[in-house]
Amino acid sequence: MNRRAFLNWGTAGLVALCAGVGVSLGAVLRFLVPSVFYEPPQSLKIGNPADFPFGAPTFLADEKIYVFRDRDKGFAVASAVCTHLGCTVGYLQSDQRFHCPCHGSVFGANGAVQHGPAPRALNWFEVTLTRDGQLRVDKDKVVPSNYRLMV
């Protein structure tokens, strides 16, 4: 084997080795990403509009959302997940603000940050009416805080 052939074959071998290792690493990484998430659905029915009272929002613990119902403006759904580090915020009717227990972030009634380390306002989710007359919340669809569903 002469020098040229050695270098050619050597380079090809090296490239093949790198490609093999790269593909294997990629496969391992892909293996670690679940193909199916056994998690609660992002889009869900939360019940009939009549189930929700006017005034103070209803907290749905499992879904981590607050359902607001206003006599004039209709329905709005706010996320209860703090935008800082994911703790569940609590809504205080007395001062009409959201308080995060982890690092003291405070959000106004419209979800905007008023105090603390939270980087963004709370999310508001799209809420629609299904054919059977139930409210459906889609957590994948973030809407502006003035979004309302009239029923």
């Binding site: 679940p34 998690e39 613990a61 980087p119």
Partner: protein, 429 residues
């Protein structure tokens, strides 16, 4: 018959009798478990006030963690909510369950403390300096692995404390630029802390991280030995004199490959077996007279340290049980929700800014720690020559302590600044 027994014994133990110097050397040298020790050690290095035996204590705590951890695995299923039920079983049903769990818990806390103190000792005695730079780097990785083991273990009880500490902790990671979010999903195996996360943390905690820490520990010990054993106590350092450099291990006509402190000094060890001159610290003849055989002097002290460590952890575990709160409830965040104490400094930083405090500051801290032996160009180990280094490191240590103390004792509901002597009525909201 006696001959057979003797032959059997001698097939296991091939050394000379321990009454002879050769026997004492061979005890170390012919034994796979002991041969990480030198046959002889400097008397001064055995002094408690030189190292406080912190490295040994850390290692012994790790051994306690391995044994109690394997025991606990027999009664633990890593999926919710069985995981929590198993904790209840360990607490009320399993024989010695609370004791073993407490030992595991307190040894884990102890290991975090001892690893940190060990790092401080190594810094203050300047023992990370040439030729020991790389072992410091390995040490920093061992510190990170210790913290990772603590963090992954923290989720396993699946109680409120565990659930929210991990929720907060992994969300901190998601602030890392570009890959942060994906990294968190990869770690959790999902979008929030759930069954997939518990299983992954379990795998990391009982398989991946212990393997890594054992491998690195082996390298760490090996390097201690290859870098010349323990560094000389600071008080034994001679006033600095100009060091002449000599070439070691390379033929005369070739450019020097490795240089080391020179000299007429001798190295010790089993010279009949080990050829060539090691690169490490050498000893003067009078110091060599100061050296003693590892057996029994070093082994005796190690055994004492082992017994004190084990007895200490057992004693603490008799009186203080590991905490267990109510079942993890994703809907209800406890107020205040706090990370494990050694991460409370981090949480304190994060309460001011998640990106700066949660990602930039800790990343910088790790990078600075890793680089210490390479940008500290001062070769002297004597405290009077390294005032700046000592001051800077002390500030680093004190700043960390202050952050942890503030996060632990001065933060109340809503992370409000409340001194520990003020009583807050729980659920006042």
């Amino acid at each position: 018959m006696m001959n057979l027994i003797r032959e059997f014994w001698q097939s296991i133990v091939r050394r000379d009798p321990l009454s002879t110097d050769k026997g004492k050397s061979e005890l170390v040298f012919f034994n796979v478990w002991l041969h990480v020790h030198p046959a002889k050690v400097k008397k001064q290095n055995l002094r408690f006030k030189h190292t406080f035996y912190l490295g040994f204590i850390t290692f012994f705590l790790f051994v306690i963690l391995l044994t109690t951890g394997i025991a606990l695995m027999c009664y633990y299923r890593p999926y919710p909510p069985q995981a929590y039920q198993d904790m209840k079983d360990l607490q009320f049903v399993v024989f010695m369950g609370p004791f073993l769990r407490a030992m595991h818990r307190w040894a884990a806390h102890g290991m975090v403390i001892c690893v940190f103190l060990h790092m401080c000792r190594v810094f203050y005695t300047g023992s990370y300096k040439k030729p020991r730079q790389f072992n410091w780097v390995i040490g920093v990785f061992l510190l990170l692995l210790t913290l990772s083991l603590s963090f992954t273990g923290y989720l396993l009880p699946w109680d409120q404390l565990a659930y929210w500490a991990i929720t907060v902790g992994t969300n901190i990671g998601s602030y890392a630029p570009i890959v942060g979010g994906q990294l968190r999903e990869l770690l959790l195996g999902g979008h929030s802390v759930g069954e997939a996360a518990l299983l992954r943390f379990y795998v990391l905690h009982v398989a991946v991280l212990p393997t890594l820490i054992i491998l690195l520990t082996i390298v760490h010990f090996w390097r201690v030995r290859k870098d010349g054993g323990l560094s000389r106590p600071v008080w034994k350092l001679k006033p600095s004199k100009t060091e002449t450099l000599v070439t070691i291990g390379s033929p005369l006509e070739i450019a020097p490959l490795k240089t080391g402190p020179a000299s007429k000094d001798k190295t010790y060890g089993l010279m009949e077996v080990v050829t060539g001159k090691p690169i490490f610290e050498t000893v003067t003849p009078e110091e060599e007279e100061d050296a003693v055989f590892s057996y029994p002097y070093a082994f005796f002290r190690e055994a004492i340290a082992l017994m004190v460590t084990v007895t200490g952890i057992m004693a603490i575990s008799l009186f203080f049980h590991a905490p267990l709160e109510e079942l993890a409830n994703p809907a209800k965040t406890p107020n205040p929700a706090k990370a494990p104490w050694y991460f409370l400094g981090l949480q304190e930083l994060v309460s001011h800014s998640a990106l700066l405090g949660g990602v930039v500051a800790p990343a910088l801290m790790v990078i600075v720690l890793l680089a210490i032996p390479y940008y500290d160009r001062n070769s002297s180990r004597r405290p009077s020559d390294r005032k700046w280094a000592l001051w800077l490191f002390s500030i680093f240590v004190v700043a960390n302590l202050i952050l942890i103390v503030v996060g632990t004792f001065f933060r109340g509901p809503g992370w409000a600044l409340i001194p520990p002597w003020v009583h807050v009525v729980a659920g006042a909201e």
